[in-house]
Symmetry: C2
């Protein structure tokens, strides 16, 4: 049974303040919940409909946390989805720990990407291109924002990330940093490149000036028309595609 306290707890996780305080987050919808259960995240609570429980009996057999069965109507009142006939899960956030890097890795760094939809889409793109490591400036959108998780389509379970001042990070790593600028070297003109960090800037202001001295090479997606810019997630996808093509 769904207690009032559980309802209150899940609803509190819609707010960043309570996610930070409790170290918990939630995801909703069949795909995200299944991906979460299939990941190394620790799932504390599953709220499911009878249909979901029936359909995924074998998955739930291996789950040892708290399980609550509810109606679709009850489920929809817990989350943000207008329609959810499947499940919602509460899990424990990963701690903000930096990772080691190798010289042959491609990594994505985001400087102040603020829109949760953009961050989630970039995580999905990283996962598509097999890029497993992302690093975010402290002003980048919060990873466990429900809109980020939803836009990532389950890919959030397959990437490592941490938040830190990027200048410090780049200084420690000593990897080439490829910064996306409007006036850099055309990515189409490169015939080869080396792995390193693809650095993307803020939606309105681009890469902060304070990071310019950390950038090894300014790169640009060549434009052929009159649009002034591309959305940051679109630009990230195009740069990842070019890097993977050049490095494969």
């Amino acid at each position: 049974m769904l207690s009032k306290n559980t309802v209150k707890f899940i609803k509190s996780l819609h707010q960043k303040k309570y996610r930070n305080e409790t170290g918990k987050f939630f995801v909703e919808g069949e795909k995200s919940v299944l991906e979460l259960l299939d990941s190394d995240y620790s799932v504390d609570l599953l709220v499911v409909t009878e249909e979901f429980a029936d359909r995924h009996f074998s998955v739930l057999k291996n789950y040892s946390g708290e399980l609550i069965e509810v109606t679709q109507n009850q489920l929809e009142q817990l989350g943000q989805f207008q329609s959810n006939n499947a499940a919602l899960a509460v899990a424990t956030c990963k701690s903000n720990q930096s990772f080691e890097v190798q010289e042959d890795e491609l990594i994505i760094a985001l400087a102040d990407v603020r829109d949760p939809g953009n961050l989630g889409t970039i995580i999905r793109i990283a996962d598509w291109y097999g890029i497993k490591k992302l690093v975010f400036s402290p002003n980048t959108a919060e990873f466990y924002n429900p809109k980020v998780l939803q836009a990532s389509m389950g890919s959030f379970t397959r990437v490592s990330f941490f938040y830190e001042d990027l200048a410090q990070v780049f200084n420690r790593w000593k990897l080439p940093v490829y910064g996306a600028y409007l006036g850099g070297k055309s990515i189409h003109s490169l015939v080869k490149t080396s792995p390193g960090v693809i650095l993307m800037g803020n939606e309105s202001h681009g890469i902060p000036e304070t990071l310019e001295s950390s950038v090894t090479q300014k790169i640009t997606i060549p434009g052929f028309g009159k649009a002034e810019s591309l959305n940051v997630a679109i630009a990230t996808a195009i740069l990842c595609d070019n890097f993977k093509r050049l490095l494969s």
Copy 2:
């Protein structure tokens, strides 16, 4: 002065039904309104704040349609933006007329892309890559939906488009059709290509089976990770980038 009838008229244009009946649409926000005034669209009505009128005096000098000055508060009640301190414009939709194509052109065709945000983003991408012609299946999102226009960031003024059964169109054009599939030829493996039509399918169901026989070559964006798919606007951007790189 803003009459009740004008308010009612503009608000009716939020609905597709009234856009179809009247052949009019609206855009809001400084950038979109300025791009519209700088285009070949016929603008019937401009609703502006005093600040916008002052800032763009020289632009408004050349405008001969109806002009109404309002407060920011009044303006925000007409449109969909939470915040708009600039302008809103009503203009005449273009008629649904097919265009001629040349053998050396790159064209985008969308089969049942339903999400207005995706359509608008694809229009912006087309404009970035200098692709001026798009063709849509009748089930694709409506071009003059305010969400489409907003996501296009003004690029909607610089493309030609029409809606028609795509099989008929491809049959008439006799251009190569490159269809985006999950199991086609890797776009990275192509060393050259010819211009033609880049065909993208529906968000959930891909390219309809009925169009498969029109496809000259199935192409794919190679994946290196575990994400099952890419968003259709992201995929369009990556394909356009590869085609422009190969053709330039």
